[in-house]
Symmetry: C2
Subunit: 145 residues, 2 copies
Amino acid sequence: MLSKTCEYAIKATLYLAQKAHQSERANVKTIAKAIDSPDAFTAKVLQQLVKHGIVTSVKGTNGGFFIEPQTLPNLTLLQIVVAIEGDGLVKDCVLGLKNCSNVNPCPMHDKYAPIRDNILNMLQSLLVNDLATQLEQNMIFLKSK
Amino acid sequence: MLSKTCEYAIKATLYLAQKAHQSERANVKTIAKAIDSPDAFTAKVLQQLVKHGIVTSVKGTNGGFFIEPQTLPNLTLLQIVVAIEGDGLVKDCVLGLKNCSNVNPCPMHDKYAPIRDNILNMLQSLLVNDLATQLEQNMIFLKSK
DNA sequence: GTTAATTAGGATAAAAATGTCTTATTTTGT
DNA sequence: ACAAAATAAGACATTTTTATCCTAATTAAC
Ligand code: FES
Ligand code: FES
């Protein structure tokens, strides 16, 4: 469904959103530990997020990653997913046909297209900021117990 | 969403279901052409389907692959998907947590779990036999125009 | 200024997915 | 029996994904 890269991207962003509520930043090692991901690979993912303007980085002592206060309020999971793996998940044919449409529907189109819309809707409606709040209240978790 | 292997498996099975309606079998080359997939790789996928009892093969001249009349009526896309890639798609946490449950929900669980149920439902309700009929009526297609 | 801490970037590696090729093996038709 | 046609199986190759490592660049603290 989602690539590992995308999973890490979402979790890292949510962790940083939580930190943002306390006006704190975090370094790679801390983030990787918090989301149970490999350090070096997580660093690469964070680089991608920086390039896409989703998170910001600061080098040097006491440096790290954080989310700008102005980007946080409207940031959705969709933006993260699209940044990392494009919009294939919410646009492409589930059976790999070149153009998904009612003109040349694949055998799954009729039942899948609405589900894909639900996925798009879910990703759009999941606000990073809201999820950060739920994380703080221990209602949701970024790693297995 | 689905692996290429799984895409080919579904398309190949549907093509054979169509053939089954005419009590015909088909060889790898014909199938691969019909579903727009690489011959050799498709052969491997068909081997997997044979091992899982979803299709049957006959060697030698006029041999090929077909679906047994008794397996066709109740065959669902879910059976194909599970045979090829297991039940992860309809069971696993979308963010890779080890146990998907309400006890330790990930940030997407509440909204994703119902969608995953929809996917399961879709795969269960899509009968290979019905889709074969729709293929014959040119209502649906196995490859892009 | 020097050192330590940190991200950035490039090179490399390992694993998995996808795809190809070659050689059995089996079956049918002649 | 023999030849042809087809799948089965194993080896091999390529590409993509996932992961690691090393060096450079930057920043802050002392
Ligand atoms: S054509 Fe396959 S999902 Fe639309
Ligand atoms: S815990 Fe992630 S989908 Fe259920």
